[in-house]
């Protein structure tokens, strides 16, 4: 009997969970309020007289960034990028980053702890990102408008970057310089204060095959693919400066 009671209780819980999920999905799948509540908008496209911020335009941007969550070397990078937008939702382009690494506190701690007092100091061999170059496809699932403090209108897009390229890494100590294939995945937001200027923030993951650090005895482990999360800020310029508009 206790087993039966537990089974009934479990079925009730599952039922409740299903009901809650159903209610949520019903809400999620319901038409957006703007369309549902204004009959004048029925059958009309969601955007009328839209500004074509991307279609057929080029973007050249300067970008600055740093990698996150690095165990041994933090990378500070600067670069340029170019995009050509084939349509409102897709573009192609290239990214180029160059930079160098600075030791993290973990590296400093290891060097300090393993240095013999009055004897030879220990220096951990590490690697850092020197150059990242990749070709991209950029997808733009969301474009829209935003108000800053209810006063200033800016346009905004949310984009996804998929790319592949090469990474050059710079080694120190017994860790050698290396060249690696570097697939990349990223997401970002881009704000448009006007029709030809954008300010963007991007988070990209470059997957690079490299040795992160040597061991205590100085030997070097084999290289492996690791994530390199690059947080970047960019300023972009669009050409032609005057976008077309939907008719």
């Amino acid at each position: 009997m206790p087993q039966l009671r537990r089974a009934v209780l479990r079925s009730h819980r599952i039922l409740a969970a299903c009901a809650l999920t159903g209610v949520m999905m019903a809400g999620v799948l319901a038409p957006t309020p703007a369309h549902a509540e204004n009959p004048a908008l029925e059958g009309l496209p969601p955007v009328m007289n839209g500004v074509k911020l991307h279609d057929g335009r080029n973007m050249v941007s300067a970008q600055f960034g740093m990698t996150l969550n690095d165990p041994y070397e933090r990378n500070l990078m600067a670069g340029v990028s170019w995009r050509y937008y084939l349509d409102s939702w897709i573009g192609i382009g290239v990214d180029l980053w160059a930079g160098g690494g600075v030791s993290t506190s973990l590296t400093d701690d290891i060097n300090r702890e393993l240095s013999v007092e009055g004897g030879q100091s220990f220096v951990l061999g590490t690697s850092s990102l020197q150059l990242l170059a990749n070709a991209n496809v950029e997808l733009i699932p969301f474009v829209g408008k935003a108000m800053i403090f209810g006063d200033q209108l800016v346009r905004v897009d949310f984009h996804i970057d998929l790319g592949v390229g090469v990474a050059l890494t710079s080694g120190s100590g017994r860790v050698d310089n290396e060249t690696s294939v570097a697939p990349m995945f990223g997401v970002g937001l881009r704000f448009f204060p006007n029709d030809w200027l954008s300010v963007g923030i991007d988070l990209k993951d470059y997957i690079v095959n490299r040795v992160l650090a040597s061991r205590k005895d100085g030997s070097v482990p084999g290289a492996s693919f690791d994530h390199n999360w690059l947080l970047g800020l960019s300023v972009g310029f669009f050409f032609p400066t005057e976008p077309e508009r939907d008719e």
């Binding site: 007289n49 409102s88 969301f142 209810g150």
Partner: protein
Amino acid sequence: MHVLEVWSRRLLLPAVVTSLLVAPLAGGVAVAAEPDEPAAGSEEGEPPADDEGLTSAERLESAIRVLQRRPVLKELRFELALTGGVAASDQMYRHFSASATGRMHVSEWVSIGATYSHYFSEESALFRDVTGNYELFPERSEIQWYAGADVSVVPMDGKFVAFDDLIVYWDLYASIGGGVTVTSRSDTPKPTGMIGVGLRMFLAKWFTLTFELRDHIFVEDYNAGSELTNNVVGRFGISIFIPFDFDYSYPR
């Protein structure tokens, strides 16, 4: 006659009255709701400086600012946010969190909230590397839970169109607050400051996808000394607004 034309005529008078009444109170909203094309006068929506040659109807048209209703109202609604997250700052451990936040929106722009986060921790590969390769043993500090309160403001809101089809309303909020954190080093709660940003995407009037990035700042006591700790957590989840629906109110 085109349906839009019919409705625009029907809505003309209410729109004029409404815009005159509400525009002083909500100038920003008026701008937000404008179509993409620039106003007849200028890009800022000012009436043309030189309106000679315009008919009275054209002059009226250039002066009228039509207000659309904000698609979602938050004022005096309660928000329950349920999120899962991962902490990014401590590389020796993987900290996963489950959080519940209750937030009362006192206005469209300001809300007051309370949060409880419970953490689940495990050693990372780096921890094993450091102990295995270098024979060094970092002092353990696993975060167990956080509880606190915050004030959030919405500096930016807008709408996205997804693939030229679906309109999604969103807002961006910034939070500041404080609370206590308990770690594995001591059962004593540690005073904690918190700053964060979040993004809500409204899929329905009462349902959003919620993204948050929060930095919890506290002082951890290690054997080697005290250290300022930043527990940066990225969260993703849902929010449910109660009551589920709302009524629009007008000045008259």
